[in-house]
């Protein structure tokens, strides 16, 4: 029984290592170019960097000198029992050791500074770039991907700069230094020490050839398991109401077992590495002692007791950098790949700058005219010959199916995208001739996803106009029907919202977004699906607040529910990027066209 149990670890099923999905390693495509750009950041700290390199040279040299001096001390004073000069030698030794530690301290101290400065600038530049990118860039990508650039990729660069740079450099120096000194002391014994290198290389290759694919496979099994846990936990209400607990437990165990088999082999085989290193250390220790001892008594190859001591220490220093180099090299490669991804974002084309003759528009009446405007995206036309006029204070509503071009019109008004042909004008000026900042300063947005920042309610409302006073904030909240619920919160206006707006409902968030628009006092108002996904009771409040907000402002709105837009001065029905009907509610209703169909469809439901 016990024997059987003890045999178990050797009886694991072999996991095939070849058939692993060819997931291309995240390697850099343009390593040299990327390194050059990293250098441009490092070059800002050129002086410190020179000092670091100097210190690495010093510390590497001193780390060779220390054991050498100890060997000399043993040979010249302890073996021979001489005393004169030992004091001086020991003082030198203390000095060498002190300088050694000091040089290590300084190289670390400066390198940490360089690394942090570099990472700081990288993060800053990346963030700066994010704000210069056109909206289309974000529309095409997932937030998670961009996030991983600023966290993982920059973190990778950070770690590499902190550790790998010094380590790689020092390892190479130590490797050559040790080899050189060993050769000087005794070429014969050096040769003996070197015999372990082929063993080291062969066994490392044997191991990494297996662990590489095994770890990849383990990673994918682990990902699968994570996904499964996430799914079953967030779907627990479904599992419970469908009584499927046993089934999911079974499936989980299957996945868990797969992970176990792969994980066992990955860990076992990679666990061989330190064992191989140890063995080689011990063997070289024994060989140096054996061969060195024999050489010493034969008086061959300048070997003395001291030399044996030096060699046993050097042998250790020699194998370590070999191992280190192979580790650090992989880290370095992945950091370069990370840096490349960061730079790729920085190279993205920025939002076009304003035209040269673009001017400020300090005040506006909010008179907007679309004249034969067309717009396409990736060679697909989205809007075709759109013309309409929104007089100051008028409200214009857009309706139509998804993809009809409603949101695009709004993107053009705010110049998130640039129109291709035709002309959009504000107070008679082509909006291309108005500075973007000036144009947008006259607009306020209430979007479907009422985005709130981590901060207090007060700060979130004030976001619409940063210099607004506390009274103005509260006034805006009152107008937006938000004051009532805010003061009922335990901390009132100082309640801290986190990004997911915990504690307040979707509808209440929307009320805050309306307050934020109120405080901006814009001439032009843009409402994109501001009332969808909200419960019916809160919706009443929102509609009231919106009506108030729209008073005296030119407003453009998109809404699902036709009731929301019934009172608009103009309703524009879009289909496939063209205007198919326009007019106010009564006109469109009597037209008995597209709008009428949409409307009566909803109406028929109510009357039954």
């Amino acid at each position: 029984m016990l024997i059987k149990q003890l045999k178990r670890p050797f009886q694991h099923k072999k996991v095939p290592i070849s058939h692993v999905s060819k997931q291309q390693r995240k390697r850099a495509k343009n390593t040299l170019g990327t390194l050059k750009r990293i250098w441009s950041y490092l070059a800002k700290e050129r002086f410190k960097l020179t000092l670091v390199i100097l210190m690495v040279v010093v510390s590497s040299a001193l780390s060779l000198l220390g054991p050498y001096m100890i060997g000399v001390a043993i040979d010249d004073f302890i073996v021979t029992k001489k005393s004169t000069g030992l004091g001086i030698l020991l003082i030198w030794l203390v000095f060498i050791f002190f300088m050694h530690s000091l040089s290590i301290f300084l190289q670390n101290y400066w390198m940490v500074g360089i690394a942090q400065q570099t990472v700081y600038h990288l993060r800053a530049d990346l963030f700066h770039q994010f704000h210069r990118l056109p909206i289309s860039y974000f529309d095409k990508r997932q937030d998670g991907d961009l996030m991983s650039r600023i966290t993982n990729d920059i973190d990778n660069i950070n770690n590499t700069l902190n550790q790998s740079v010094i380590q790689i450099f020092a390892s190479i120096l130590t490797l050559f230094g040790t080899f050189g000194v060993m050769m000087l002391l005794s070429p014969l014994l050096t040769f003996v020490t070197m015999t372990i290198i082929p063993i080291l290389v062969i066994s490392m290759r044997w191991i990494t050839k297996r662990t590489g694919p095994l770890y990849k496979r383990q990673q994918s099994h682990l990902g699968e398991l994570n996904g499964y846990v996430e799914e079953t936990v967030s779907g627990q209400h479904i599992i419970k109401t469908f009584s499927q607990e046993e089934r999911v437990t079974c499936e989980f165990n299957e996945k868990n077992d797969k992970l176990y088999q792969t994980g066992f082999w990955a860990l076992t085989i990679s666990g061989f590495i330190p064992k191989v290193m140890n063995m080689l250390n011990y063997i070289s220790f024994g060989m140096i002692a054996l061969v060195g001892g024999l050489l010493a008594i034969k008086g061959m190859g300048n070997v003395t007791v001291g030399v044996i001591v030096i060699f046993t220490e050097y042998a250790r220093q020699f194998t370590r950098p070999l191992n280190e180099l192979s580790n650090q090299f992989n880290i370095l490669l992945s950091a370069v790949a990370g840096a490349e991804r960061v730079f790729a974002v920085m190279d993205e084309e920025r939002e076009e700058t304003d035209e040269k003759n673009a001017k400020e528009l300090p005040i506006t009446t909010g008179h907007i005219v679309f004249d034969q405007v067309s717009f396409g995206y990736d060679h697909t036309p989205i809007l075709k010959n759109i013309s309409f006029e929104a007089k100051p204070g008028e409200s214009v509503a857009f309706i139509g199916h998804t993809g009809a071009g409603k949101t695009t019109i709004i993107n053009l008004i705010s110049r998130f995208y640039n129109y291709d042909t035709g002309k959009i004008s504000l107070d008679g000026y082509d909006i291309k001739n108005i500075k973007r900042s000036s144009l947008r300063s006259h607009m306020a947005f209430v979007l479907q996803d009422s985005f709130l920042f981590h901060g207090t309610i007060r700060e979130n409302i004030r976001y619409g106009r940063l210099e607004a006073t506390d009274e103005e904030v509260e006034k805006a909240a009152m107008k937006a029907n938000a004051h009532e619920f805010i003061i009922q919160l335990p901390d009132g206006y100082d309640t801290i919202l986190d990004q997911h707006g915990s504690g307040i409902s979707q509808g209440q968030k929307q009320l805050l977004a309306i307050a934020r628009a109120f405080i901006a006092e814009p001439a032009i108002l843009i409402l994109d699906e501001a009332t969808s996904n909200i419960d019916t009771v809160t919706e009443l409040k929102i509609q009231e607040a919106l009506k108030e907000l729209m008073k005296g402002r030119t407003s453009f709105m998109i809404a699902h529910r036709l009731t929301t837009i019934q009172e608009a001065d103009q309703i524009i029905v879009l289909k496939n990027g063209t205007i198919i009907e326009r007019g106010n509610h009564e006109q469109l209703f009597s037209l008995r066209g597209h709008y009428y169909t949409l409307y009566s469809e909803q109406l028929r439901e109510i009357v039954g």
């Binding site: 149990q5 003890l6 178990r8 220390g66 100890i70 302890i78 050791f97 050694h100 301290f105 940490v112 942090q116 400065q117 993060r123 800053a124 700066h128 909206i135 974000f138 937030d143 996030m147 600023i150 398991l225 994570n226 846990v229 996430e230 799914e231 936990v233 419970k240 109401t241 469908f242 009584s243 089934r247 437990t249 989980f252 176990y260 076992t268 666990g271 330190p274 191989v276 011990y282 220790f285 024994g286 054996l290 001892g293 010493a296 044996i308 001591v309 046993t312 998130f416 947008r440 947005f445 409902s505 843009i526 019916t536 009771v537 809160t538 529910r561 909803q602 109406l603 109510i606 009357v607």
Partner: protein, 576 residues
């Protein structure tokens, strides 16, 4: 910690073997300098070739033996740590499946996933290291000191100063360093949060011209992070050269003192060499302490987090006498003065709710967010139990049914339509074990999704869920409705699950459902949907505000009129 460690019990023999192997390796490492000293004294100084060859071959042979032991240790350590981790994962998953809903809600999904991944891995890693290097380092320090004393007690006295000094120094650095790292982590979180917010809100930021404002905010967080990281790393990295210096000083001392003693004839060259060697190994081991303690404290925190899960022992269970559970045949539901308060909350979410739905009737529930609609729903499959009052199904109290039987007769479509990773068929057949393909198609036809599925590239074999194709909200809703319909439930519950459907599709879907012999409850925001129900329950702040048909409510309820008006316009309300 105790429960976690109890998972190690089945691996006791493996642990013992792993430790024995590790001790064997350690002994060899400690013997090597001793033999070197012997060889120098007896061999080299006496010019005795045979002694040299003997000690040399012994050392090389021992090295090979230690390698063998090391490899065997890898197998045992890996078997133990992976077996342990797999057992914990399995048990934890099983445990969570038995959680009641109230328990589950205490832990956010991400928190649970972290426990399965990082936390288990952390402990597993620590156990693996514990069976190899972690216990080895302290033992090496102790063994090294003892061997040094055996070789030459007087010379070894230096260890009594350096070892305690260095050990306490390392511990101090660690304690301070950990606190600093925690601070760094907080700054990292802040930078990430600002970034995340900016990505999510970029449209708004651009619209409100707040790029500069945001950049200022970000740069502040960025600067703080860079500064803190810099001082933390500098602090930690300064400790290494100091440690190195103290250790090297002790070498100088050994040489000096060794020399004095060798003059007096009490110490031999070989002994000095051996002790120098021990000093180097001991200080290497001490520098490992940082890493060991960090790993241990991380593992401890992880163990505590996992412990929390196992400590929860409030499972859902059936009442005692459910063996003779009655059978649900009609699906009438009645609530008698039901009140409900969430276990962790103070305020009740439902007050004195009473209503009855007969077999085959349809009840629509409308109300504001937070009025208690979903809470009311969750009471029927007993995801939660009522605080007071009673719920009856077919005139029998809810608790008299076994959970299994009760839930088998309910088709529940939750608000967020979650699909599991797998094919569409798998997802729908999920509702009924051993469902035939005809049954699946029947359900999808009724749920108005069959045609959409047929237009997908792989039709019913299309992969959905996390790694699958992107379905629209409405498509997902209809698949999850099909999943409920395939069970032919006596009670069908739709929690706002037709919100993304257009009017025509929804209308066809509701018509198809009418062919099923089931009692139906439907939560909705749309009046157009509610109108189809036999009764409409208007829920406000956990209380039943009104319960009647659409026509009656139009006459009697003020709030209802307002809601209808907001969705259809006032003039139309009375025009028809």
């Amino acid at each position: 910690m105790k429960t976690i460690l109890s998972f190690l019990k089945p691996y006791k023999p493996h642990i013992i073997v792993a430790y024995s192997l590790m001790l064997f390796e350690l002994t060899i490492e400690l013997l090597l300098p001793f033999f070197l000293g012997k060889m120098i004294n007896d061999g080299v100084l006496h010019k005795d070739v045979q002694t040299i060859v003997m000690w040399g071959s012994i050392m090389i042979t021992l090295a090979l033996f230690s390698f063998g032991a090391g490899i065997a240790n890898s197998f045992y350590a890996s078997h133990t740590s992976w077996g342990f981790a797999t057992d914990i994962r399995g048990k934890m998953f099983q445990h969570i499946q038995r959680f009641s809903f109230a328990n589950l809600n205490k832990y956010p999904t991400s928190g649970l996933v972290t426990r399965f991944t990082n936390d288990v891995r952390q402990i597993q890693h620590t156990i693996f290291m514990a069976l190899r290097i972690m216990t080895r380092a302290p033992l090496l320090v102790i063994g090294g000191v003892i061997m040094a004393f055996i070789v030459n007690a007087k010379l070894a006295l230096i260890f009594l100063i350096t070892v305690p000094l260095l050990t306490s120094f390392v511990l101090w650095v660690l304690k301070k360093g950990t606190a600093m790292f925690n601070q760094v982590q907080r700054y990292v979180d802040r930078v990430n949060r600002t970034m995340q917010e900016n990505l999510a809100g970029i449209r708004l930021i651009k619209a409100f011209l707040r790029s500069n404002h945001e950049e200022k905010r970000f740069m502040k967080a960025n600067k703080q992070l860079a500064d803190m990281t810099q001082s933390t790393f500098r602090f930690i990295e300064a400790s290494m050269p100091i440690l190195l210096f103290v250790m090297n000083l002790s070498l100088v001392f050994i040489i000096w003192f060794g020399h004095t003693q060798s003059l007096a004839g009490t110490t031999s060259v070989g002994e000095v060499v051996a002790i120098v060697n021990y000093a180097l190994r001991v200080s290497m081991a001490i520098s490992m302490f940082t890493f060991i303690i960090l790993a241990y404290s991380r593992a401890k925190a992880s163990a505590e987090r996992i412990q929390q899960i196992f400590a929860v022992d409030v499972y859902e269970r059936d009442e005692e006498d459910v063996k003779n559970s009655p059978t649900i045949s009609d699906g009438t539901i009645s609530f008698h003065h039901v009140s409900f308060t969430y276990p962790s909350a103070k305020q009740p979410v439902l007050h004195d709710v009473s209503f009855t739905i007969e077999r085959g009737e349809k009840l629509a529930i409308i109300g504001a967010t937070g009025s208690g609609k979903t809470s009311l729903f969750q009471l029927i499959p007993r995801l939660y139990d009522v605080s007071s009052g009673d719920i009856f199904i077919d005139q029998e109290p809810l608790t008299s049914y076994s959970l299994d039987h009760l839930r088998k007769n309910i088709g529940y479509v939750p608000q967020s339509s979650l699909l599991f990773t797998g094919t569409i068929t798998e997802n729908i057949a999920w509702g009924k074990t051993k469902a035939t393909i005809d049954e699946v198609i029947q359900a999808t036809r009724n749920a108005q999704i069959h045609e959409t599925i047929m237009n997908l590239p792989d039709q019913y074999e299309t992969k959905v869920g996390q790694k699958g194709v992107n379905l629209s909200g409405g498509q997902k809703q209809r698949i999850s409705i099909a999943r409920a319909l395939i069970r032919q439930p006596k009670i069908l519950m739709l929690d706002d699950s037709t919100s993304a459907l257009d009017v025509a599709t929804e209308s066809r879907l509701l018509q198809a459902i009418e062919t099923y012999d089931c009692t139906m409850l439907i939560i909705t925001q749309k009046i157009s949907t509610a109108i189809r129900a036999d009764k409409i329950l208007l829920l406000d702040d956990g209380k039943v505000l009104a319960l009647d048909s659409h026509e009656e409510l139009l006459q009697s309820s003020n709030l209802y009129q307002q809601i209808v008006a907001s969705q259809f316009g006032k003039e139309n309300l009375h025009a028809h």
